[in-house]
């Protein structure tokens, strides 16, 4: 079966270490899905390219340009990889803005693998104090292993570098498992609306 993975990268520079981590996580997830005998269709989205469209949707709810297609793909996804740089001790504003305009129904129950990058290892808990609470609020299924990469991780020798790679692989395996076993989405309320009699249940008539 084909599993659809959407990777969201909120890095600002090109190339960015955020995109680097996003690509590594995407690769690890694809590999783990293949090992489980699944087909994979993945898409990596750079939020920087959608920055104006995200603000348009924020101000008027109208998703302009490429954003509409991205939101549609996200609505069909079996798993999401969400990677942000750490700005002011939290996710970037653009990262938060993007998830603020996603239809809450699309995030509900969706497996999400979190990643973050920063200049120093001292911000690694951003995954636990910023990203995980947000995806708990959206009722997403958050992968237990989140991956934080500080600048020094990219240059670590034998031990440090292997450790980052191991975490990426573990996170990818966990997302692959959740994406494969994900319960099917509930009925589309526009296709199968709640009947009027049920809507009125408990109300005065």
């Amino acid at each position: 079966m084909t599993r659809r993975i959407v990777t969201v990268s909120a890095g600002m520079s090109t190339p960015s270490s955020t995109r680097l981590l996003a690509d590594r996580l995407t690769g690890a997830t694809e590999k783990a899905l293949s090992e489980r005998g699944e087909q994979v269709q993945s898409r990596v989205v750079e939020l920087r390219d959608l920055a104006h469209d995200i603000m348009n949707a924020m101000t008027t709810r109208v998703p302009t340009g490429e954003l509409r297609g991205v939101l549609e793909d996200l609505g069909q996804a079996d798993g999401v990889i969400a990677v942000t740089p750490v700005f002011n001790a939290s996710y970037s504003g653009l990262f938060k803005s993007f998830f603020d305009i996603v239809d809450p129904d699309d995030l509900d129950g969706l497996p999400v693998l979190m990643g973050a990058t920063g200049g120093s290892p001292r911000h690694s808990l951003v995954l636990e104090h910023a990203l995980r609470p947000m995806f708990s609020y959206t009722r997403s299924t958050v992968v237990p292993t989140g991956v934080y990469a500080a600048s020094e991780d990219w240059g670590s020798g034998e031990n440090g570098g292997r450790e980052l790679g191991d975490r990426i692989d573990r996170a990818g395996r966990q997302l692959a498992m959740l994406a494969t076993e994900r319960a099917p989405k509930g009925a589309d309320p526009f296709e199968e609306p709640t009947p009027f009699a049920d809507l009125m249940s408990g109300l005065g008539t």
């Binding site: 603000m55 348009n56 924020m58 101000t59 008027t60 709810r61 109208v62 998703p63 302009t64 340009g65 509409r68 309320p189 526009f190 296709e191 609306p193 709640t194 009947p195 009027f196 809507l199 009125m200 408990g202 109300l203 005065g204 008539t205």
Partner: protein
Amino acid sequence: MQFGVFSVSDVTPDPTTGRTPTEGERIKAMVRIALKAEEVGLDVFATGEHHNPPFVASSPTTMLGYIAAQTERLQLSTATTLITTNDPVKIAEDFAMLQHLADGRVDVMMGRGNTGPVYPWFGYDIREGINLALEHYNLLHRLWREDVVDWQGKFRTPLQGFTATPRPLDGVPPFVWHGSIRSPEIAEQAAFYGDGFFHNNIFWPATHTRKLISLYRRRYEYYGHGKAEEAVVGLGGQVFMRKNSQDAVKEFRPYFDNAPVYGGGPSLEEFTRETPLTVGSPQEVIDRTLGFREMFGDYQRQLFLMDHAGLPLKTVLEQLDILGEEVVPVLREEFAAKKPAHVPDAPTHASLLAAKTAAGEGEQEEQS
């Protein structure tokens, strides 16, 4: 097919002059716009309802009653009446009174309202918005159809032996539209009662609007009111026109760029591409509006938003002239030519009364 205008009643500074009309000027301007709508041959004027600045339309039936006294043909409506936070008993009374004064030229559009604090200001909880709309409307529906009502519900104090007065004109309640931008529950509600469904068709891409309207049509048929294509659909839209397209864009741009609802967001070009907003020549407005029929099926009512974002009254009146002289006559002809015979027009007091009389005669024949 009915054509008309709807107003949200915003008091907005004119960005080209910096001048803000007074509340009194804005209220009188809305009345002038309604009178002009009748003058230029439009069918409907609908006012919004708001309970916070910068809006002035807090008391719709007062305004509509005043307009009724100065018009002959114009259908008076709302866009929307807050079924969530108003007392359904008062809605029943206010609109029945208006019906008598306006000789039946009245219908009502129910809406939930999108201003969070209005709920607590009127003693309600916004999280109950859908339930309030369902329960309040159910009561309103009964108050207009049953002379004596015993009722108990979740939100309002119970009623025992209550009669809403005056009774609806000729025993025919005003036709009701339900307006919603994105709630399948409201489309379901409109379909259940066989009422009309209105989409403001302003902010959402057409694909979203189509999902909601298709749902309403399907369920209208399911509940036995007629075929899906016979369901009663109304659409909003917003336009700004000049003879030359470029002049329209140039003149409207500062209003778009500074409007409280669009400013700081998409460009005028992006917004006209992705939403039904049309800024251009009368012919472009005609083409775009005919496109709504392709998208959503034959429909019964088209309302345009013309008087927002600080546009001066003089400009709005010019827009209504263009609409009445160059756009609506063509649209009437084109829509009429395309509409199959079995698709009904929007119900009016006259058509509902005729249907009621016919049904009554049918019953008598069965009895005899």
